[in-house]
């Protein structure tokens, strides 16, 4: 289904990067009202599945742009301000998930869905670990708080969302893509 190079940055990446960012921003804004327990300002975001999906479907650049800009927009709309490390962490989540793009042949195939979920989980681990550990320098927290108070709840929340919603998004996308012949 995907013939383009994973690292290509053309019209498609610009448009879907923007669409992913806007969707992630809007859905994050809507769901920012569910803070994770014991996780400071970390919120439970079903929108993360959308970010991972955009990475998987359109590649690492789209994942990076959607995560970085989308998180910035969602936080700004909610009044959280701008936390560069969390925005970059979200960008990394999308980027790492996007590395699987060239390996996905059929969005309905069980094997491809499992591959996408695994890359998504690795992306979440990398992105949230980056954001949590840099919080030690930005927020002056200790490593225990960074790992237990931020990373673990953020990872678990995002992982659950991805495992549940990403397969549904991929199957729905396969139907839409086949109808449009792309």
């Amino acid at each position: 289904m995907n013939n383009s190079s994973a690292w290509e940055f053309g019209t498609r990446q610009v448009v879907y990067g923007a669409i992913g960012a806007a969707l992630y921003g809007v859905l994050s804004w809507v769901t920012n009202i569910f803070p994770l327990p014991a996780a400071g300002n970390v919120t439970f975001r079903p929108a993360v599945a959308v970010l991972i999906f955009f990475g998987v479907a359109y590649g690492p650049w789209v994942g990076l742009l959607a995560g970085f800009i989308g998180n910035t927009l969602g936080d700004a709309l909610s009044g959280w301000g701008f936390y560069w490390n969390w925005s970059l962490g979200n960008g990394l989540m999308g980027l790492v998930a996007g590395l699987v793009m060239s390996q996905i042949k059929d969005f309905r195939a069980q094997g491809d869905i499992i591959k996408a979920v695994i890359y998504g989980l690795v992306g979440i681990a990398v992105g949230m670990l980056f954001a949590s550990l840099t919080e030690m320098f930005v927020g002056g927290i200790d490593i225990n708080t960074a790992l237990v108070g931020y990373f673990v709840p953020a990872f678990i929340g995002n992982a659950i969302v991805t495992v549940v919603l990403l397969p549904i998004l991929m199957i729905a996308f396969a139907a839409v893509a086949s109808r449009r012949g792309r």
Binding site: V14, V15, V138, G140, G149, L169, V176
Partner: protein, 296 residues
Amino acid sequence: MLVTWKYRPRKTFIQSLDPRTRLIFFFAVILGLTIPEIWDYRIIFPLFALSLTLYFLARIEWKDVKRVWPYIFVLLFFIVGLNGLLSGRGGPSSVTNLPSPVVFTVPFKIPFTDIGWDVPITISKMWFAITQMLRMLTMAILAIPIPYTMDPNIYGTAFRQLGASDKFSFTMDLAFRFLPTFARDFSITMDAQRARGYEMEKLKGGITSRLRRLAPLIIPVVMQSTVTGEEVVDAMDLRAFGATQRTWVKADLRYGPRDYFMLGLAATIFIGCCVLKWGFGIGEYFVPEFFLNLFS
């Protein structure tokens, strides 16, 4: 179909500013508060007063923002404020690490049993909740006027003139333009699903089943956006996007005296916050004497 923010041209001080000035000022305040981690009410309160003044100078009609404010207040008081009050998290570790008198405790127990725990509400947590809300409101009221007072045609130009590449500027431009469209799509989808009997307020079961039941809201919006994307890609490719350097609308943006004044103020705020915190140690979280005296 793209829908736009409720932008309207007005003869106000805010709208007479260059869009770049407004973006730089917005980020200067946010970065001034977040990079040196300012939690001192003596710095936050003046910035809040300044943000509020700029908000009123924008002269946005109440009918335009009457759906935004209730959401912000719910988020602010019931989510951020309550989270800060109960956990003391989301800010400096000194909120919970430093000893502070307990004012009352909130029992989180299974009814009719002793299973659970008591959450102590300290003076430090109470002051932190107030500071956190004020800090967030300061940043939120700077962001709210942007979509109502900045021409949607100018977002990309502003980023381009700030030095970003054509492609990145266009991504930002499109993202800003798509935001209200997807917010509208989400709202329409929610109404349509409700008309079919979907009850968002009655999402029952564990986390997994609740998430699955969110699918009827999320999937249609996401799938529609992928279809919209193909149309936009086709339209842009037909106009040879990326083949040559892009021409931007209103590409001759120029700073005026007002812009230099606001840029100077932005620089003063950002540098001032950094110097106060890192140079003089002012800006750390602390509970002021007058607040402590309220409980003595």
